[in-house]
């Protein structure tokens, strides 16, 4: 199989983007990525658009965006894996290049969620759990789902609301240095604790926001990379798993089974020791749609033992200089969470971190040359884990 790497990546300013339409928003991420890769857009052989959609009236977002970017007549497709859509696009783009069917594939994620009223967004996303049973019968929406996980976790491991707020404090801290983040205000545990409840025990500052944004990742074959002398982060392993549709069919509410499986698969493919992955990585992006989700991610990824995830953030082990810095871009919590673009934005961040191209306070030391993105769809319905490396590692 051919080695596959990333040669350019970018994400737009996240937040409320009524200033641009879908094509213009896509262009912002695309034009930066293609400039960084130093290629002509004619070099792109295929286009994978990740988008959950449902907010706008465009039923063919891949075609609309393709026309806007001037990529057509090249082939295209839209993919969706709920909030993990972006990572699924990167996985498919990887495989298309690895198969030899293309030399360069664009994975671009986009979402314009703020076109819909907040209440509609919350209801629509809520249907992404299990509509017929959990949404219709119990009115569960996503803050409610993750509140279930939080209460299960808190009751089993004597973790307090204040502890969860520590995750929000960290991610807002790093978001404050990221000019593309939706929120750039630093917060305190007190501020988080005094914010209104969305679904007990989760408060406003425990929840990621509703976001517009786009993110682009250009993925190329080893031959193309050699020829173009591109600055490359290699894709060295991707893992993926699907959870049950019904939460009632799950055994454990203090972690996400699909994320654990995806991590083990990614580690095996990237040649990482599953017993101590944190010590082999320079940094990670994890799916902190809610503060409890970041704590569970630490454990599902094997960065901490079961029940000890919260210690990592309290002891600043997931800050720069700690065991493994996590979400140095502000995470979903502060950078924002434009569903279809979140995965590509994580991978764009890691690409720049690994190459030392992040400006200012957020750049971390790169010693091991490896980084990981953990992207979850639904409440563990989908999980994708992607490992990047500066060394030409291979996907086994």
């Amino acid at each position: 199989m051919r080695r596959v790497g990333i040669i350019g990546a970018s994400y737009t300013k996240f937040g409320e983007r009524f200033d641009v339409n879908m094509q213009e928003l896509a262009w912002e991420a695309f034009s930066d990525a293609i400039k960084e890769a130093n290629i002509e857009k004619d070099a792109i052989d295929y286009f994978v658009l990740s988008n959950m959609g449902g907010w706008s009236s465009e039923s063919l977002p891949a075609v609309i965006v393709s026309e806007g970017l001037g990529i057509n007549p090249k082939g295209s497709v839209r993919v969706e894996a709920a909030c993990a859509s972006g990572s699924s696009a990167v996985k498919l783009a990887h495989d298309i290049v690895a198969s030899g069917q293309a030399n360069v594939v664009l994975a671009l994620g986009i979402e314009k969620m703020r076109e819909s009223p907040t209440k509609t967004v919350v209801e629509y996303i809520g249907r992404a759990g299990n509509f017929m049973w959990e949404f219709e019968n119990f009115g569960l929406t996503f803050p409610g789902y993750y509140a279930l996980y939080a209460t299960a976790y808190m009751s089993k491991y004597s973790v307090k609301e204040e502890d969860l707020c520590e995750v929000a404090v960290k991610n807002h801290y790093y978001g404050s240095f990221n000019e593309k983040a939706q929120f750039r205000n630093k917060i305190t545990v007190e501020k988080c604790m005094s914010s209104p409840y969305v679904a007990w025990p989760l408060k406003l500052y425990d929840c990621s926001p509703i976001t517009d944004g786009a993110a682009a990742v250009l993925i190329a074959s080893e031959d193309f990379i050699k020829e173009h002398k591109s600055e490359t982060a290699w894709i060295s392993g991707i893992g993926y798993a699907t959870g049950t549709a019904n939460l009632s069919k799950r055994d454990d509410f203090t972690g996400l089974e699909a994320a654990k499986r995806a991590a083990l698969q990614a580690y095996a493919r990237a040649g990482l020791d599953p017993e101590k992955p944190a010590s082999q990585l320079d940094l990670a992006e994890v799916h902190d749609c809610f503060t409890i989700a970041e704590v569970m991610a630490y454990e599902d990824l094997g960065f901490a033992k079961k029940g000890e995830g919260i210690k990592l953030v309290k002891e600043k082990q997931t800050y720069k200089g700690g065991l493994i810095p996590v979400n140095l871009d502000g995470g979903l919590k502060a950078k924002g969470h434009p569903i279809g673009a979140t995965g590509e934005s994580m991978i764009a961040e890691l690409y720049h971190q690994l190459l030392g191209k992040v400006k200012g306070e957020r750049q971390t030391d790169i010693k091991k040359g490896r980084a990981l993105a953990h992207n979850v769809g639904g409440t563990g319905h989908y999980a994708y884990v992607t490992v990047l490396s500066l060394e030409k590692g291979g996907v086994a």
Copy 2:
């Protein structure tokens, strides 16, 4: 690159399927395909669901179906390329296997369109053109779009409404022998001509119906096929292209540029002579969403010269025994058109035809060992062309 083949395939009874829910409908196609392939479902490494959606309230159809089939925890994704979604799923499944990331991938398409009222379906599909311009400003829906193509074609090539009806007569004729077809009634040109206008010059019998259905294709690597001694049709070439979102940006309204490009790419990869593809194929499935679409497909695929496509059907060259039999399953017109499942159902049909497994009147003689599926999304917004062969041809 590894060779990739199809080892089992099936589609459900198409039509109004209020008798089953989404999981049950998927199961019908899946259980037949897996039985035919003679494998355990544990052998499936990854699942690609093609689905346009928007009719039901399930926002995570891949997860719902995955749970229903018992494929989770294996990784999954939903893909969409409008009416070409099914072929895009087969393309991605092919590439995933070819890349070495999986040995067996399930591509399953599903749509339950009849859950929505007809008016809603027509409006929703209409948005799949270019919403902001053509739908909002001119009220164009799909019968209207293809009526534009039909009038352009009729005016340029002096083709009559009666001629277009010949396509419907052929496809209803073959649909009458297909127990899974939505419509099994044979029709005459007179009957077609006396049916009410939907969008002049297209009448009811020029239009494909609104359909529920599912279709499954199991795709495997050469190694897996060798080990399991599977009855195989190899995927020997796939081509794909994207058209402009705006029809107003197109030069020609008597053919689909994207389909032409996709065909040439597929021919190059499969080693077919683009000057005489029909003589190298035993049969084809083409995207006859409207009768005019089948005529344009003949020409876009190079089966007939420009303006002479209609002669093929009038001279019965696309019936069994002719130059190249087309849509021996009844086509979208009579078999039905459950958007996300249409592509896989075409490929399932070709798989069975190539292996001589179609019962009764519909089975055609297999002499060249090659067959082609032409699947269009939107009005030429997407095009996917897939060539299957009994010989182990390779995707270049």
